[in-house]
């Protein structure tokens, strides 16, 4: 790890004697420090006045009141879609927990009352503390039952760990 300085010089094929560090010589205007101070003051006052008179152009967003428009494919909080009759599209095929790299989706399946469908989920939970918002679950789903298009990505704060677990109800109704 520690390379001796002499070795380093040798490896580089040179010695300290024939290396010359060229530093730009400050001009006389730079050396008279006061002029550079005035220039610097000009820069700061320009920023201040521009931001004072054109506050709408500042990059800051007044967050809770104003929201940034998200791109349509932004991956936000998950939701579960419904069929035309209002029942969840999910058939509890376990494709999404299998695809999930963070292992945050937990599904409990049950027999479906509908003879055309094999299974339905009775519990479908996503632990947001573990979720990394990669979107693999959405890609894995064969039924288009889970999407991440709610656009919610900040209002997930909670004070207890349990509150970070998204329940099926919550996901169906968002």
């Amino acid at each position: 790890m520690a390379v001796e300085r002499q070795d380093l010089w040798q490896r580089l094929g040179c010695s300290p004697e024939n290396v010359r560090v060229v530093r730009p010589e400050p001009s006389i205007w730079t050396r008279v420090y006061i002029l550079e101070i005035v220039r610097g003051l000009g820069v700061t006052i320009r920023h201040m006045l521009r931001n004072l008179f054109r506050q709408q152009d500042m990059p800051t967003l007044q967050f809770p009141e104003l929201r940034r428009t998200l791109p349509p494919r932004f991956r936000g909080r998950h939701r579960l879609t419904r069929k035309a009759d209002g029942t969840p599209r999910c058939v509890a095929c376990m494709m999404c927990p299998t695809a999930c790299p963070a292992d945050c989706i937990h599904i409990e399946a049950a027999e479906s009352p509908d003879p055309r469908v094999e299974k339905i989920p009775v519990r479908f939970e996503i632990d947001l503390m573990r979720c990394i918002f990669c979107g693999y679950c959405v890609e894995a789903c064969p039924k288009d039952a889970i999407r991440m298009d709610t656009g919610i990505f900040t209002d997930m704060a909670a004070t207890r760990r349990e509150d970070f677990v998204l329940t099926m109800d919550k996901m169906l109704n968002s």
Partner: protein, 433 residues
């Protein structure tokens, strides 16, 4: 007849005004520091705290801060020297509040043929008072640093001692040239000397007569107030918070207030010594008194115009607020607009009253003093702002750079300034050859 200056009411006023003025400017300074620094760095700065939706661009945050500092636990660490730890912030605030009393804020007011001093303390030593009292501020810092029994505190205190002592020499020498020109140390006389013009158009301010001295004094004043680029005693990145590392709550607030009062005092002194003090450019006190009606018209007209412009701006701003906010803040533009419009109408009404009824006999000196006070406050606020402006522009000095600048650049320059001023005075000054 007894001297009116020693009448108890005048005495109370003379002491209270210079005492309250820096205190009243404090919230404004803190707000300016935050907001200006934010805008210089393309941030929005404080804009949330509100009283019934009125935020005043973030000035309400200062009130919230006061409440916070008063409500905070006053932590006294177990290892400190309790007596000195408690004493240091008191010295700081006490010394800071003693300083502004020497600064004259208007020319002598004529009342019933007598003059009333528009200055808290008129003593012959004048400018020596803030130099002498101000230098004791360093004791507060050293005691605070030492009593904290904290390495960072001690380092901050030692740095403050070295810095203040180094720059006090430059500070004292930089004004010697000015004092030679003015021939007095009394601040009001100094301001009176700065009346008139040189070369026909420039106001005869100290900056014109003593440009080098003014620059040196300004720089040294920065160092004396321990502001960036001379903030070594409390440089966060190196020694946490320097001498006030172990202070919290109200005791910390005392150091904080003292720092800002020092800025205002330094601005006042720079104004008084080198920027004409209360002198209105090109207009003497006599002219102001003689044309009091016109001066009043200009003052009130400017006030009315400013109020109108503010009202229009508030109206335009109000539209955006109504679109964005659903709570009480949506009315802020309307509230401020109505207030500004009210101020403008008041100014117009006073203007009309002055024109209809004419000015009473006592008015001209008062109007002149008001005009001078406004000008003085404008200058002081400009320099107070420039303290903030420079703080957020310049990187701070390294310790060796600080010492080199103080001892090897500023002190010889100040000495040369004294010598050159002396030579010029000898040949061209009053009574010169």
């Amino acid at each position: 007849m007894a001297d009116l200056n020693n009448h108890w009411a005048v005495l109370v006023g003379r002491v209270a005004l210079p005492w309250l003025l820096p205190l009243l400017l404090l919230p404004l300074m803190i707000w300016l520091e935050r907001k200006a620094s934010a805008f210089m760095q393309d941030r929005t700065g404080p804009n949330r705290a509100a009283i019934a939706g009125v935020r005043l661009g973030g000035i309400v945050h200062t009130l919230a801060d006061v409440a916070k500092l008063l409500g905070k636990e006053d932590v006294v660490p177990s290892q400190v020297h309790r007596g000195y730890h408690a004493l240091a912030p008191l010295i700081a605030i006490f010394v800071a509040q003693l300083l502004f009393i020497i600064v004259p804020y208007a020319d002598d007011l004529w009342v019933n043929g007598q003059t009333v001093w528009m200055q808290g303390l008129r003593i012959d030593i004048g400018i020596l008072w803030p130099l002498a009292i101000g230098s004791t501020f360093v004791y507060a810092i050293i005691i605070a640093g030492w009593a904290s029994n904290n390495k960072y505190g001690v380092l901050g205190g030692m740095r403050a001692a070295a810095q203040v002592i180094s720059y006090e020499i430059a500070l004292g020498l930089s004004i010697v040239g000015a004092l030679m020109v003015y021939g007095t140390t009394d601040l009001n006389t100094i301001v009176q000397h700065q009346q008139g013009v040189v070369w026909g158009f420039l106001p005869k301010w100290g900056i014109v007569l003593q440009p080098v001295g003014a620059l040196l004094f300004l720089t040294a004043a920065f160092a004396e107030t321990s502001r960036t680029p001379f903030d070594l005693p409390e440089r966060d990145a190196e020694i946490v918070a320097g001498y006030h590392t172990e202070y919290s709550g109200v005791r910390f607030a005392f150091f904080f207030m003292a720092e800002y009062i020092h800025i205002i005092v330094a601005s006042g002194l720079v104004t008084t010594l080198f920027f004409g003090g209360w002198q209105v450019p090109w207009l003497s006190t006599e002219q102001l008194r003689d044309h009091a009606a016109t001066v009043l018209d200009v003052l009130l007209g400017a006030g009315a115009l400013a109020g109108l412009v503010a009202a229009v701006l508030a109206g335009r701003w109000s539209r955006g607020l109504r679109r964005h906010y659903a709570d009480a803040r949506r009315h802020e533009g309307a509230v401020l607009g109505v207030l500004a419009l009210g101020a403008a109408l008041l100014a117009v009404a006073l203007l009309a009253g002055a024109h209809v009824y004419g000015l009473p006999e006592w008015a001209p000196p008062v109007v002149a003093a008001l005009a001078q006070f406004s000008i003085f406050m404008g200058k002081v606020l400009f320099f107070a702002f420039s303290f903030i402006w420079i703080r957020w522009t310049l990187p701070s000095f390294r310790y060796d750079q600080l010492m080199r600048l103080g001892w090897k650049n500023m002190m010889p320059l100040a000495l040369a300034n004294v010598a050159v001023t002396g030579i010029l005075l000898l040949f061209f000054g009053p009574g010169g050859r």
